[in-house]
Structure formats: C-alpha cells, structure tokens
C-alpha cells in the first residue's frame, strides 16, 4: 500500500479508530496484523519473507538468552539468514551479470541464469531494522523479547516499513511494549507534518522529478542541461525521501509512537561529515554503529601508533573504515556499479575531510563569513555525487564527466537555465523552511509535543492555516505525473 492512495486513507482512518479503542495488547496485535495487511496489499508473497525474517531474528535473540554459550552462533545464524535473503533478492542478478561478464572476458560464454523476481519493497529497511535487534541483544544493549507479537510489530511497523527511518530495537521496541496514550497536541503536530510531507512529495518531488527524468532520458544532454537535471534530482531525492520520513513520523505519532527524525536540512551542511549527520540519519547511524566503528577499531588496533605522512593512526583508521563503510552503504542502495561509485565517492570525501582537518587542526578558527561558501561548496560536491547516483549507465557517466561548459550551444544554455529556475521555483517552500529553521523558527519536523499546558490560540490558528495552505497547494500544484518514492527501489 502506498501513502498517497485512497486505499491508505481508508486503511488509516479505520486503523486509528480501532487502535485507540483497544487495550495495549490488542493494539500490538492490531499493529502486527495491520502492518501485514499494509505490506501484503499488492504482493501477498512478500509476507512470507518478512515473517521468515521475524521468526529467525526472534528465535536467534531468544536462543542467545537461553543458551548464552552459543550467543555468537545465534548471532551469525541471524546475520547470515538476514543478509542471505537480502543478498538473494537484491543482488542475485547483479552478481550473475558480473560473473558472466568476467567469464566472457576470459572467453567463456556462459548463459546467465535469469531470475525474474520482484525485489520485495522495503526489504533493505526491515532487514537492517531486524538486524539491529539481534545485534543489540548480542551486545546486551537490549534484552531478548519473549513476545513474538511485539518483535513482529517492531520489524513490520508499517509507517516506516517501506522506506524508513530504520528504527533501533532500543528505541522502538520499548515504545511498542509500554502503554500508549492518545495525545491531541502530538496528533496536531503530526497532522501538520503529514500535510508538509505530502506537499513535499506530490508538489515538490514529483514536479522536479519530471525535470530530472526528462534530462536523464536524453541521449546527449549538453553541459547546462545535464547539470540542471542533476540539480533537479538533488531536490527531488531530498524532497521525496524526507517526505516519506515525515509522513511515516506523522502516521506513527497518530499511533502514539515517536520515530526519529531522518533528515536535518542536509543541504545546509558545511562539510561531508556534517552532511551525513543530516542525511538519512537512521541509515548513517546504523552503518556508523554496526559497521564503521567495529571496522575502524579493528584497523586502529592493527596499525602501528606512529604517524605516517604527518597523520596519526586514528585518522588512518577512520579513513579506511569510512571508505569501506560508504562502499557498503552505496551497495545497500542498489545492485549497480553507479551506487558503488557514489558510495566510494562519499567515502573518499569523508576521509579527505578528516585528513585535511587533522592536518589543519592547530590553525582552525571559526570564520562565520565562510559558512555560506562552505554550504555552497558542499552542495556542489553533493550534486556531483547525485550524478553518480542517478546515472546508471557508466558509459553515459563518463560522457557526462567529460562535458565542457564552453561547448554548449545558446539553446543548451537557455534550456539549462530554464530547467534550473523551474526546479528552483517548485522547491522554494523547501528552501524557505530550511532558512526559517536556520533563523531559529520551529521546524515542522521537530519532536512532537506530547504534553502542553494549554494550546496557544494564535499558534493553533497558524497551524490550521498552514495545514490548509499545504492541502490547497497539493490540490492545485500536484504533479500530474505520479512518481514512486525513490527509496522504494532500495
């Protein structure tokens, strides 16, 4: 089921009404059943996979608790099962294609095994969410749960099931386990967040997405046309993905559950590390905690302590760990070389930023006037990354990188300028919101207020007006081309 559909609207109204009429145990059963209905709506066979994941992770965590001597074996069993399923459904064709290509280069023409399997939507997200549970149980950060219903509801929690945010067992499971109380102030904030999320998706992302799709459908776009398309894609992917996260948080808040904020105005970042603290926060912290830190510590342990090239061992360990982590993060996004390149690019950016930072540590001073330049510079670097991300054809990618601004025709320049300004125009609300927050205004996506002494009338009136304006904006400016959420592919 997708959020922007009549099916979901009806589902949500019925679900919320039933949910608050039930006691806590009933709510959790309903949460699990509703999540399965939501997930299996189009392809019921997807449910087999998520049920299998749930059974394995529930059993493995319980096994660690009951047989402490075999904790490691249970951990590896769960990790192998989770990554095995993910790998099979997501990477089989990629692997087979590349093996066949390598064999062909060696003169062996082996027919590729064709596997026409639909990639189960959301599998990358719920697999990581499930893995966080077993790993945290292994690390004794959280106890193994006895209730299969609660673990099932945690893994299949429908608001964030298809495209995150990836919740941790330590954050979401306790909320599922405790009694929840309907909070009118939180529902009010959530309503506004839902309106903003749908506006971002249907008005901003889908309209600029049409521009990006048109440019990337061209065989030989000129320099300015291409980069206008890349700019449009940068807006599209942010508006699209953050819209999903906002809608997920809004829906969850109506159920009395807080999901973490997945985006923190990433295009205001002044450097690569800050960008990743603001972009897809749940995924980047997942990789940080479960891959980067263990890898970086391991590298650090094995490196001799002396400095090399005036750089200390910790910085080298950080850089190595970061490049490996970002390569994996790139591959997580999809079974395609362009995602690997994108991940490697960000890994190198992060490593370079760290190395340069370590070398200049002593001379570092705060220069406020530099901030806008740093933001603009990071935006350009991010945009170059989006070119790697969006262009799946490597031959085309090489061609794009060789384009010169001086070889563009007058029409090419004008078309590029037109597409750039059109994308900018559609995204004005996005920039205004970021600027508003930068100037100290309240973020629409800020934490939901659960308790308030009394509603302030002018705040309520402003919220009602804003919600109405957003709905009016959706009705009038909604793109006629409805695009899927980009992260459904991952």
């Amino acid at each position: 089921m997708i959020f922007a559909s009549l099916d979901f609207a009806i589902f949500m109204v019925v679900f919320v009404a039933a949910y608050w009429a039930l006691p806590r145990r009933g709510q959790n059963v309903l949460l699990l059943a509703g999540s399965y209905v939501f997930y299996g709506w189009v392809h019921p066979w997807f449910l087999v996979l998520i049920a299998a994941t749930t059974a394995v992770d529930y059993g493995a965590a319980l096994g660690m608790d009951l047989r402490p001597a075999r904790r490691k074996a249970f951990l590896w069993l769960a990790v192998a099962a989770n990554l095995g399923l993910l790998g099979f459904f997501k990477y089989f064709n990629f692997f087979a294609d590349n093996v066949a290509a390598v064999l062909a280069m060696a003169g062996w023409h082996v027919p590729k095994p064709a596997l026409h399997v639909v990639l189960p939507v959301g599998i990358s997200f719920y697999t990581f969410q499930a893995l966080s549970y077993v790993i945290d149980v292994y690390w004794r950060r959280t106890p193994a749960r006895r209730s299969l219903i609660d673990v099932g509801a945690f893994i299949a929690f429908f608001p964030s099931l298809l495209a995150g945010p990836i919740m941790r067992a330590t954050t979401l499971l306790p909320q599922i386990e405790r009694a929840r109380r309907f909070s009118a102030p939180a529902a009010r904030d959530a309503t506004l967040l839902l309106a903003w999320g749908f506006f971002k998706k249907l008005v901003i992302a889908d309209n600029v997405g049409v521009i990006a799709n048109k440019v990337f459908a061209l065989q030989s776009p000129e320099f300015y046309v291409l980069w206008a398309g890349v700019f449009a894609f940068g807006i599209q992917i942010y508006a699209d993905f953050s819209a999903y996260a906002d809608i997920a948080r809004g829906v969850a808040a109506w159920l009395g559950i807080d999901l973490i904020k997945n985006f923190e105005h990433p295009y205001l970042a002044k450097g690569p590390a800050e960008f990743w603290r603001r972009w897809n926060i749940s995924l980047s912290t997942w990789f940080r905690d479960y891959l980067f830190l263990p890898v970086a510590y391991r590298i650090s342990d094995r490196l001799p302590p002396e400095r090399r090239l005036r750089i200390d061992a910790a910085t080298w360990a950080y850089s190595g760990g970061m490049i490996l982590t970002m390569l994996t993060a790139g591959l997580w996004h999809g079974a395609s070389w362009n995602f690997v390149i994108w991940g490697a690019y960000h890994g190198v950016l992060l490593a370079l930023a760290r190395i340069v930072g370590a070398m200049r540590k002593r001379r570092r001073r705060t220069r406020r006037w530099l901030a806008p330049l740093q933001i603009a510079g990071m935006f350009l670097l991010t945009s170059l990354g989006w070119l790697f991300f969006r262009e799946t054809d490597l031959a085309q990618l090489v061609r794009h990188l060789g384009l010169s601004p001086f070889e563009s025709t007058v029409l090419g320049r004008r078309t590029g300028a037109y597409l750039f300004f059109l994308a900018l125009l559609y995204s004005i609300p996005l920039w205004v919101q970021s600027l508003w927050v930068q100037l100290g205004g309240r973020d629409l996506g800020a934490a939901m207020v659960r308790e308030e002494a009394q509603p302030v009338p002018w705040v309520v009136a402003a919220q009602a007006l804003l919600a109405g304006l957003l709905v009016a904006g959706i009705l009038v400016l909604r793109s006629t081309t409805s695009l899927d959420f980009i992260y459904f592919r991952f």
């Binding site: 009118a184 009010r188 065989q219 090419g412 300004f421 009602a464 957003l470 009705l475």
Partner: protein, 349 residues
C-alpha cells in the same frame, strides 16, 4: 484550570487544525472568482473537468486534410508515429495517398475526436481510417485524457464523449475525486496558475527577444523523440485484472461510437494492434486474460464490419528492431511501413 477543561481545549485545537486542512482550501473558490481569466469557458467534458481556457480547435488540419483528400487516414500515438512513414506509404499505395494524425501521448478519447471532427464531420470520405493501438488501449477510455492534446480536436461541446467518460468514471474513487474537485475547484486554479509557473522561468533564462520561442525550442529541439536514449523499460506496464474485462469495458469505451460513425458515413475502419516489445527469445508474453480480451475484441470488431490486424508474434518484427520500450527504431520505419502495406491486403484492396 481543571484537567478535563485542558483536555477539551487540546481536542478543540486538534479539531481546529483538521478543519483548517479541510476548510482553508475552499478559499480557492474565492481566488478563482477574483483571478479567473475572462475567457474561461465550460469544458467540453464537464463530467471530469471544470471551466478553463482551452486551446482552439485545429481547423488548419481539417483544411489541409480536405485539400489532400487522402484515400487513407491513419490515427494513433507514438507507436504509430515511430512505425509508419506516411510519405513512403503514400508512394506504395499511389492515388491520393495517406495522411497521418499521430499525436504522441494520445489515447482513445483523442483518436475518437480526431476521427469524428477532423474526418467524418468535416465531410471527408477516405476509403479506410486505420487506428493503431496497444493491447487494451481502445477500451481504456481514461487513458491519456490530456486537455492539451484533446483541445486541438474537440468542438465546444462533446456530449457523447462526456457521457462515456462520466460512465467510465463512476467508481468510488472517481466519485470522491469529482466531489473534491467540485468542492474546491482546484483545477480552475491550476488552469491559470500552472502556465504562470511554467512561463515564469523563461524571463530569467533568455534575453527578451528569445523568450517568446524558448519553450517551443525546448520542446521541439531539445526534448525530441530522436534525442531520447533507448529505454527498454519505457512505458511497458502490462495491463491486468479489470483492465482486461472486455465485456465490462466495452459499453464505457469510445469503440461503439467509432463503429457507429463508420457505419453511418460508410467510411471503413481498421484497427491495428501493434506488437509490444518482444522478449529476447520470442514474442511479448501474453497473459490468458489478455489473449481472451484480444479474442473478444477481434470478434466484436469483425462482426461490426471493421478490419482487425494483430502484429503480435510477427517474426518480421523481432526484438532487434525495437528502440525504447514499444517504439521501433527509426531505421525500421520504412520497413514496417512496407510490412504494414504488404500484410494488410484487406485495407489496401
């Protein structure tokens, strides 16, 4: 203040925001009254559209068709456009040749209006009018009902098409959609606001002299069909379920009306189902439901005096002649035109 009173106030505040989301957009009605262009007129398909400014009917097309008095007129979308070379076909058939009314991104509503208003009601009497379509397109009345295309072939009132569209849009979803549209009149706002948004960046992108033609140049010179890269996945969505229930769809399609016009005017009609992109090892896969749909479509058309030709499974159209999606390569266009001529003796008798 007591806890219950605070709770009441919180609930009232939530209700206020929910009402705001529903009621504030009603302000669009007032905005429309103040801003609506004076030349906005009721739509020719009022069942699915509010009053708006429409593009004029293409009377030049009628005039040139009258002048050419072609023996054959071909109607379709880019599937036909990438396959048929009208000049080459005219050379093959001789006489008064063939004219093409191909509009990329068009659907059955456009094809019906083009047939009715540019051919039959314009007094033209070609020997055969040929419609090109894919799979279930002919009975999918709501497929590509795009005003920008329809305006050029629609008269100020199109009661028959409107009735068909209204009948097709009778489900719960469409009823709800229609009710929201009538309540908020958002499509009227869109009709004047969207062109402003589309045109605004022109002023920032080009010198004053070039502004007038910039959008046309972008559409006609930058984003042309020839400039696109091959995309195997383009426009390949396969129909299924209710979309293939021929008996259910027929009464709410333009097909009976096309046949009625054909019989009334004596202009024979032919329908060519173009082949979708084949698989590497054979023709495009067809579900049993699609096969049954095509069987019924053929029987219906032939029993009503129309000609039906199915390209599906044609060994002369292997995967190698395809470009992007269901489009064929430009280099294959003349060859397809010849195939079409050769394999349809009934049309070109």
């Amino acid at each position: 203040m007591s806890e219950s009173r605070v709770r009441l106030r919180r609930s009232a505040a939530l209700l206020a925001v929910l009402l705001g989301a529903v009621l504030v957009p009603l302000g669009l009605r007032a905005v429309n009254r103040a801003v609506r262009p004076p030349d906005a007129a009721p739509s020719y398909i009022p069942s699915i559209e509010s009053p708006r400014v429409r593009a004029p009917f293409d009377s030049d097309a009628v005039a040139s068709l009258r002048e050419a008095a072609n023996d054959y007129i071909l109607i379709g979308d880019s599937m036909a456009g990438t396959r048929i070379d009208p000049g080459h076909l005219s050379r093959l058939i001789g006489g008064h040749g063939a004219a093409a009314l191909f509009h990329p991104g068009s659907g059955p509503a456009y094809w019906y209006l083009a047939f009715k208003n540019l051919v039959i009601n314009a007094g033209l009497r070609p020997r055969v009018v040929v419609f090109f379509f894919r799979d279930e397109n002919l009975t999918d009345t709501l497929f590509r009902v795009y005003p920008s295309a329809l305006d050029r072939v629609a008269k100020n009132q199109e009661p028959v098409l409107d009735e068909i569209l209204a009948a097709r849009a009778r489900g719960a979803f469409y009823r709800l959609h229609g009710a929201i549209r009538r309540a908020y009149q958002y499509d009227q706002t869109r009709a004047w606001l969207e062109p402003i948004i589309i045109r605004a960046p022109v002023a920032w992108s080009a010198a004053r002299r070039a502004r007038k033609t910039l959008l046309d140049a972008i559409n006609n010179e930058v984003f042309t069909l020839e400039a696109l890269r091959p995309m195997a996945a383009a426009d390949m969505a396969a129909p299924g379920g209710e979309a293939l229930d021929f008996d259910r769809l027929l009464p709410t399609s333009v097909l009976p009306e096309i046949l009625r016009l054909s019989q009334r005017s004596g202009v024979r009609v032919a329908f060519v189902r173009v082949q979708r992109r084949p698989a590497a090892d054979g023709p495009a896969p067809q579900s049993p439901a699609l096969q049954e749909y095509v069987r019924k479509l053929r029987a219906y058309l032939e029993s009503n005096g129309a000609i039906f030709h199915d390209d599906w499974g044609d060994p002369d159209q292997p995967l190698s002649v395809y470009e992007d999606g269901d489009h064929v390569k430009k280099a294959f266009r003349q060859a397809y035109t010849e195939l079409f001529f050769r394999k349809n003796p009934e049309i070109f008798r």
